[in-house]
Symmetry: C2
Subunit: 353 residues, 2 copies
DNA sequence: CCTCGTCAGGTAAGCGCTTTCCTCGGAGGC
DNA sequence: GCCTCCGAGGAAAGCGCTTACCTGACGAGG
């Protein structure tokens, strides 16, 4: 393995000069030497040791990202935005999957701290778990105290720069839309109870219910994993318990798609007999049948803004920006069937996007 | 920022002892000192500098992964498998997105090399571009010569450990299924021409055509980006050019889903008037309507096997394993409509998975 | 009683780079 | 013609850690 010393030796210069030329430092260097060194680099196929560079240099370069799971489209979209900004700034990004395990999340913060990343972006729901939250906060602060920058997405527990999606408002929009269509009781397919994303969105749903003079009872809420299969299972339980339900709100699109599969399996027409609304507006949502009504969150943009915050010079106080939730009505929602539970395939919009 | 020296000082021991205790090295250390050091670590909230560790230590720990785009479900699935194995081995994985840019791919190989990763897994199609391929090969060899391990997924150009999906065979299976159903000419929605994945799958399609006494002409092949929108656009062009087409094979599921959107938009019944088959069997494929017939590739397993190869002790010769392609018929394929182009909504299977 | 082995613990030499500070030669000023 | 200044290049001091090697004390064996 060729080292800088090898290059210097071959070019007949000191390592100092070689280093300057390779990193084209501001210090002026003669043209002849420059060429000799560059030639040596090419001949030796020299690749500088990034760890040694990091150690010797003052500034940090890579940035770390902790998400629940990149293979979840929600995070995939966010990650795309994060990546783009980081790449534009010439930063390597290290992606870590916590798989929604708080311990792993803590471990990754340490790991990124240890690797001297310039910034950590924490994407994904917080936990309703005070001890864990406190530990996370400590670690983040410690990291910041060493010069690291932190930006979080959608978690209020850490006081620092943050992009927070309007989860509560989005939940409100979803339920409000359903009530406006004429539904009177809506079933909810929720993610894990201990995630703040779940409770925030649920709170919005509740507020809409109250405003419309209804209530969301536990009987109408099913908790499950925040993915397709969770949604499918929750839909099944919900329907078994409340056969006359005319509307279902899923707390994310993956779950909604699982619910759709369940409804299809049972031969229940959507939106003729049951309306369904999701949350997030994942790209695939337009491609299922019927196309999913949902609450759009500007996922990629959230990533872009979070990384911009993280890469920005630290400000005096913490910056908290909101990401707007927006109702998107497609084909999966319609007024409830007229009493007698007849099939009623009317749609809020023509199918096909 | 607390350093090992700070910890040692506070505990009243040498850095050597502190290091031994923290990394619990085999060298025996007295219980009293151990406790003092551990206490100091806790009080100072010491986080070892990973770069310094890497520099000082002999062995490497992190592994790098280069994919086209994690947010593409195809790579998301593979990445999940890669991750799992890496995590089980206690390795941090650094994920890099090349966005199908060969230059970026080369840069990332250097970068991972520079960071002294223990292994590099290259996932994603190779390019029909001899100079780039040669440069990549050089870089990979250089990296290997410094002790790095390399495993590639689905690229034959690098002689080393590899998992190669049966792309040609899969293409054959897709076209064969269509011909067996009675279709006589099939349109193809292909990915970028310069990707080996495209040409390999296409070659399989061609072989099936030959065996069934047909030919795939350029008139029936449309190239586009390997994603949903590419598929949608290609389907439109294909249909405009060949209005009487009864079957379409898309070279991956994302494109197939785009094609489905195009067909839906034009009110063309699938599979009644046109059959559609995809490739890869992404998780979402069962959830579109009709559920997509496709050629399944064990994506996550491919990731698992590739990472296992990369983390294994190097063998004498290169190991090349194949990942089996398997035909999965769902609702999007059926026999062609009987001559007169009447609608014929018969299906190969009942809908709903 | 002296020597040797053993073992806890410390000393210090790197790992591969960056960067400060120093040197040295030549050009310019008086 | 001498002194100063400047600029190209080098020597060397770290960056924070690991680990081979050394030390010194103590118990055992001769």
């Amino acid at each position: 393995m060729a080292t800088l010393a090898d290059v210097a030796r071959r070019a007949g210069v000191s390592t100092a000069t070689a280093s300057r030329i390779i990193n084209n430092s501001p210090k002026p260097v003669g043209e002849a030497l420059r060429e000799r060194v560059l030639a040596a680099v090419a001949e030796l196929e020299f690749v500088p040791n990034a760890n040694a560079q990091q150690l010797a240099r003052a500034h940090r370069s890579a940035v770390g990202v902790i998400v629940h799971d990149v293979s979840d489209p929600y995070f995939a979209e966010i990650t795309r935005g994060l990546q783009r900004v980081a790449t534009d700034h010439g930063r390597l990004v290290i992606i870590c999957n916590s798989y929604r395990d708080p311990e792993r999340e803590l471990a990754y913060v340490d790991l990124l701290h240890a690797h001297q990343t310039a910034a950590i972006v924490l994407a994904g729901s917080g936990y309703h778990d005070a001890p864990v939250t406190a530990r996370l906060d400590r670690k983040l602060r410690l990291y910041e105290s060493t010069g690291g920058r932190v930006a979080v997405i959608g978690r209020h527990e850490h006081a620092g720069d943050a992009i927070v999606p309007e989860n509560e408002h989005g939940g409100y929009l979803a339920a409000d839309a359903l009530y406006r269509l004429g539904h009177t009781t809506i079933g909810v397919i929720a993610g894990p109870k201990h995630l703040t994303t779940t409770t925030d969105r649920l709170a919005g749903l509740r507020r809409a219910a109250r405003e419309h003079g209804h209530r969301l009872t536990t009987r109408h809420i099913e908790y499950a994993g925040f993915d397709r299969n969770g949604g499918m299972a929750a839909a099944a339980r919900l329907l078994d318990r409340n056969p006359s339900l005319t509307a279902i709100a899923a707390l994310n699109d993956s779950m909604a798609i699982g619910a759709l599969a369940c409804l299809r399996e049972r031969g229940i027409d959507v939106p003729g007999r049951v309306s369904l609304i999701g949350f997030d507006d994942m790209p695939i949502s337009v491609d299922v049948t019927p196309p999913l009504s949902t609450v759009r969150l500007p996922l990629e943009e959230i990533g872009v803004r979070a990384m911009s915050l993280a890469l920005r010079e630290p400000q005096a106080g913490p910056t908290v920006e909101h990401a707007a939730a927006e109702l998107v009505l497609r084909g999966s929602t319609a007024p409830p069937p007229p009493a007698g539970r007849t099939r009623r395939p009317a749609r809020t919009r023509p199918p096909g996007d």
